[in-house]
Symmetry: D2
Subunit: 342 residues, 4 copies
């Protein structure tokens, strides 16, 4: 059986990545594509790399016919997403890739995003989309909130350690190196090739990045007490990939063991042998996340490093993985492609 899906916001990078992935998916078919600013154009015009595919023309959201659509992916900007989803049919399954439904607490949402939520009842309904940790809820959910790409990377490295009680919860530092596609196709000076190439700089330094809201929510729930990590993302001159270097206090072997045990049956999470560590170039274009643990020279300190592709495992791949679950398909279907290297 083939399911029909719509992609709302198909003219951005995560939308295009969904099309790339679904084009090879044996049980899912793209029935509608919206992109308000490019409505009327073909995907080949907006994304020439997809020109070999037979795809619906981009329309406005209003012109999408949701009858017969089994599931919609919303790859819309923050804030827009909650407004659009509030108006969609109530029986439509939805995977949202925006930040709008990641935080469960309306107050936390307001703190991090600066405005009241426009659809609090949907906020309550939404399931947090970190597949490996919310699998059962996602399978039953109508509305799933894709995680932040940085938030996913950091959680893959740290959740098993918090659950296993093997690290000091008050001394966690995450230093992330993020490729530029995470910033989307937005026209900003510091995303220009001439500025970014040969550049590298931190951003949202000091605890102001919105993905911290997700870390606070998830790590605190897991620990049963407030946990606040220190988190500094850096932009590096690469297109895809997030490398999360996390500094924790605990026994390195116990840490490695906790990760191995937790992920032994997870198809997409690869825990490297002790003292090996990953590179973003080895996960590019794939749904895999590589995690390594290295012992520091000082006893009781460890470095845990996780790498994934922000557009795939960090966003559109995760979304498809969740959609598979919601549609009753094998979770890994359409997602087993190997990384592209070099």
């Amino acid at each position: 059986m083939t399911y029909k899906i719509a992609i709302l916001g198909a003219s951005g990078y995560t939308g295009a990545e969904l099309v790339r992935l679904i084009a090879s998916h044996p049980s899912i078919e793209i029935a509608a594509l919206s992109g308000n600013s490019k409505a009327g154009q073909s995907m080949a015009q907006v994304f020439p790399h997809l020109r070999h595919l037979d795809l619906p023309t981009l329309t406005t959201i209003e012109d999408v016919d949701f009858a017969g659509i089994d599931l919609a992916f919303c790859a819309l900007p923050h804030k827009t997403s909650q407004e659009v989803i509030a108006k969609l049919p109530r029986d439509l399954k939805i995977v949202d890739l925006s930040a709008d439904f990641r935080l469960r607490d309306p107050q936390a949402y307001k703190t991090w995003y600066g405005n009241d939520h426009a659809a609090p009842e949907l906020q309550e309904e939404a399931v947090y989309g970190l597949t490996e940790f919310y699998r059962d809820e996602i399978a039953k959910a109508r509305l799933v909130a894709g995680t932040g790409c940085n938030a996913a990377t950091g959680q893959f490295a740290l959740r098993p350690l918090i659950s296993a009680g093997v690290i000091n919860l008050d001394e966690i530092i995450m230093d992330l190196k993020c490729a530029v596609s995470g910033a989307g196709r937005s026209l900003k000076e510091n995303l220009l090739h001439a500025e970014l190439s040969e550049g590298a700089h931190a951003y949202a330094v000091g605890g102001t990045h919105r993905h911290l809201g997700e870390f606070d929510q998830e790590f605190s729930a897991l620990a049963g007490r407030p946990v606040q990590v220190q988190f500094t993302p850096h932009l590096i001159p690469a297109n895809r990939g997030i490398l999360a270097t996390t500094y924790v206090k605990g026994d390195p072997k116990a840490i490695h063991k906790a990760l191995e045990i937790r992920y032994v049956n997870e198809t997409f999470i690869e825990v490297l042998p002790m003292n090996e560590h990953p590179s973003i170039r080895h996960v590019r274009g794939s749904n895999f996340c590589h995690i390594g643990v290295v012992a520091d020279r000082r006893d009781g300190h460890a470095i845990v490093i996780a790498a994934l592709d922000n557009l795939t495992k960090g966003s559109s791949g995760q979304a498809l993985q969740n959609a598979n679950l919601m549609l009753g398909l094998p979770e890994t279907e359409g997602l087993m492609m190997a990384p592209l290297f070099p």
Copy 2:
């Protein structure tokens, strides 16, 4: 039915690319991998991006058991390839990715490669592997010679024009821009990141590049008279992709028409609308070749531009396409993945 294949020389970029492609192929299974300098290592050690796959350990060629192998890909260095293939079982189907069997004429081979051919009878047997133009011969062949990646790109742009008689055969200039993976994983100063990034330079200028041997052979055969093009490759700071800008004399519309007619039924060759032209970023990681034609301001001059991924359509993707034909499988099987962008 599943066919078993071996990859000889799996520790280079084209070998790894074959593994990447075949890992998603429904009817082909990797039964053996050789890599003399890395024998005894796992592919995960040599290419960590493939660590999620269950692959045979690398062995020496001598240790490969060819019983039960349906087809071998040879991704070995030039000269080594002819020596190795000469010793392989005579009933083994072989797709060779080296330059050793591309030229049919022993004298031409010696001229371009500097040595006598070690296996002239195999040279005679080999079929030139430009799938779209040698499809029937390839399907029946035992030994197929993969084309040069530059040679493939230039031929996709020019063969239909020569066949259709719409361009001046004595005034063809090809200016190629080649990404660095075409040079393989060899340790040379000018392939270092610090040298190539922010660099761009021509190489093999003046008609000394060995792929010219292929152009001379193929274009002359096609035209029924000697054809010598001018060909200048340039190294650019990118990892994958070849952009061939060809300058020809003829009627631009007739040229565009000739390409459209020739490729209308070819799955992997996309002829863009008149006056549009391609970019390597839109074919990366895929088996597609995009071709565009633009009319020059001066009557009777046209620019024909072709773009493909040197490791995929220019090498390992072509090899798999040929293997599909040789094994009686659908030609496009395992090759329909969309390009990776951005």
Copy 3:
């Protein structure tokens, strides 16, 4: 003696490059900087790499006090430049970096730029700023028009060949590879890092690039008859540099000789030994232009390749070289820094 200069339009890349160069100049002092959209900001805010310098705050053009200013550099957008310069004091020396005064013929200007010139009398007054070929006129000029960066590169390769009569004037093809800073700091999708990195594509194909207006004007004047070259620029994933590969018909040795003779006394133009050719990475950040000649395998064909830094020798370095002449300073003052490699 120290001369005081103003830079109008200091918030773009060519403006910043002028500041970088003049900061080390022993006889020139920056007295005023304008940047209408960033007026009121310090240069350190707009260009943090200049934060160590003691520079005037950015103002609007209206707020620049031209009393005591010896020379103004105009690094303003096309069209704006002619309007602004028309209102500047008539005794102020001006080096314009825009395209507004490059073409001498009002009709040619209209053809290439689409509008009537707003200051035709200044257009007539302006001297074309290719220093090595208009040195005497520039020294006496009040208004000098900086050349296009592509136009400079192509002319350095070809002018001596046209003058010496050693090439066929009807068969000249220029294939240029241009780094992205040539497009300025403008916010366009195809200038984003995620789009350009791993990309390479032609633009303005078919003879529509405005720098062709300069080639037509200059080469025809030189030859005493109409000369129309074929010219295709390509964007490559690098920040600085233009590599011009020109295909010409003539005797390679005569061509090399013509270049050597013409440039033997030129400080900034390096003619490489016969059959060597340049790379953009070896001129980056400098005012040097490297030129090489290679004989093609077919008699009577040669490839002439020129490389320079589009922001330095192609634009702001050229502008400073011209300003030196106009102020009676040594032509090379402040311009002898070596390229930055790697």
Copy 4:
């Protein structure tokens, strides 16, 4: 007066960077260049970007005539340097860029480098070359040991904080992002463009990087007690630059103040306004180091970020700054060029 210098090991990146800098120096002249593996070649052959300079041909070290040489820069590999320097004239001033004389304690040297020091008396004589902190000793020294490029970056961020007693000495984490030229011109797979571009990975994780020896030595001496920082360098796809993100515990304002006070009179160290932070693209090719301090959302935590160019301020620029002091020249002579951006 002009001083004559020799550069031993001029065929590597730091050697070439010395030539670039000294070429513009008004009081220093290059009298000899050695490069054993390239002896007999001109610098133009080894580094074409220096072809406009009139330089001595490369010789072997044995063929350098040290009579008349005022100072030698040794840009030789580790271990080789101590052997060569031991044989040089005892009255020759030397700036060594290798790691051989950075550690004062022979036992610490053996621990980090694995061998006994071949010239312990020179090791004792050598002055640590972090100019801003050893200025007086350097001015009087005969042998100065250039610091590690990572070691310099981290010390610029942290020394004033340790001296001022404003941070917790037991909780210092340094996460460095290093461009690839820091690895030199060595031929290694992971330095190839195809591997590094689109890559990012940690290396020497867990406290094994040799520059930790310098941190231990310097920070402990400064604190008057053992200090062991945690230090993880990462390779990023850029050519020049080090970004050191340091995580410290202390009052952010006191930290910022301590840096401002310490560096107020230092020409090359720029402390940014509170809560601003630097990028490597704004120091490239220059001798400047930019430092920023940002307060974390959690009281008592701060992020201190330092950026410099590893080849200039981190190596050859530092070396020239020290040579200026040793020769009695103004410390900043030949070093005031602005960064190259973009």
